[in-house]
Amino acid sequence: MTKAKRHVAVLLGLLVAVAVSYGAGRLVRMAGVTPTAAWAEEAAPGVVLTATAERVMAGDREAGIVKINGVEVVTINASAGGLTGYERALILAKRLNDAFAGGVSPDDFRADIVQGMNVVLCGDKVLVTADQGEADLLGIQRAELAEQWAAGIRMGIRQALGLPEPGATEEAAQPTGAGEQPSEAGQEQPAETAAEETATQETQPAQVEETATADWVPPEPYDQKNVPILSVGEGIRVGMAQVKGPKSRVDQVKAVALLETHFKNTLEIEIYVPISTSVPGKTLARVQGVGVVGVAMFQVTGRG
């Protein structure tokens, strides 16, 4: 073998060895040695962010405390949109966990104004609305409340991940002026309850019309209605569904239970179960023969 060929062989061997080493490193990462649920470049290895909601009673008021890895980050005292503070806290905790699952950094969480409401965003997704009732309880402006909540979430994530505090910039910012405070709309509707189950069914695009196939006659007339979507386990409203089926069956449907699962750890699957109870139980009281024909989740952005 010539010297040149020997050099080429050594180089190729080296490249293979480097590739194998890199692959081994990837395998180690996938085995869970390093954080996967919430990635931050400076994060402490092995830390997984988890948001929880705790119920506390303040007199006859049901309030909720949202914690990130045990650190209290947001307290919601006021009811809004028909939800108690605790129910709103549950929704916020769920949205935080959804955000954590996608990978976040503390700076993703910020206060902003969306559709005239002071809200806390993660990226472009609304997490919670800083409502007037809560602001009044604390004697502050809604913009300030949103800033405080966003700062609390950032602080909780930094503490959980062992990241340094950025200093003065992390202090609850004061509203910079009237421009940050949307007008008192009167019909303020928090993001957690951005829709009510007023069962109106308007707004079909004009160019689309559903027609039944002529060669199939249903055993009885079909009907449809709108019902809330309730997450199984928490039992909280996460959206609205339009269900359709034989009229006698549709009449029995009180809600759609939402089961969430994953296929091969890749595909997120939302299973809709029309149920005859207002709250999903341990076993779901499925109403057979009824299917979902429309879905709207409470998230402001993203596909349902």
Partner: protein
């Protein structure tokens, strides 16, 4: 001899660097894409339609098993079909499981997605159709069939 030892050290350092690079490379921001080449990569390469054709039956069985575990099994037939947008050709933008009488479910080729107002919310209307595309001014829906699960693809 010293030169050989130096080379060995350099090679060892190079291999260590490659290993640490593998460990330290962060996952993709969307969960599900970083699967070490599995379904996530197939979706990216071949598209949702192909994945639905290839794995639809398996996904359908998986959903039905999950429902069975909650004592909420569906009476009637189910299958997984792609979701297409009205007027956007036959490109799949998602997939759903549909359910209903067997003779009707067999006719369903896809589910057309339209914009729908549900109460005050803007949402997705899902119309089971007997064609693979949703073109034209009128959709021919397949009666008696509804959606029982939504399958989200990491794209």
């Amino acid at each position: 001899m010293t030169g050989k030892r130096t080379s060995m050290v350099l090679v060892a350092a190079l291999l260590l660097w490659a290993f640490l690079l593998g460990v330290g490379t962060p996952p993709a921001p969307v969960r599900g894409l970083d699967l070490g080449g599995g379904l996530g990569d197939l979706i990216k390469i071949f598209g949702i339609g192909w994945v639905v054709t290839r794995y639809g039956g398996e996904i359908n069985n998986f959903i039905n098993r999950t429902l069975g575990q909650h004592d909420a099994a569906i009476e009637g037939m189910t299958k997984v079909v792609p979701v297409v947008r009205v007027g956007k050709g036959g490109t799949a933008v998602g997939a759903v499981q549909v359910m209903g009488p067997a003779e009707q479910v067999k006719k369903v080729q896809a589910v057309a997605e339209i914009e729908l107002g549900i109460g005050r919310l803007r949402g997705r209307g899902l119309i089971p159709i007997s064609t693979k595309t949703a073109e034209g001014s009128t959709l021919k829906g397949v009666g008696g069939v509804g959606v029982s699960a939504n399958i989200k693809f990491p794209i």
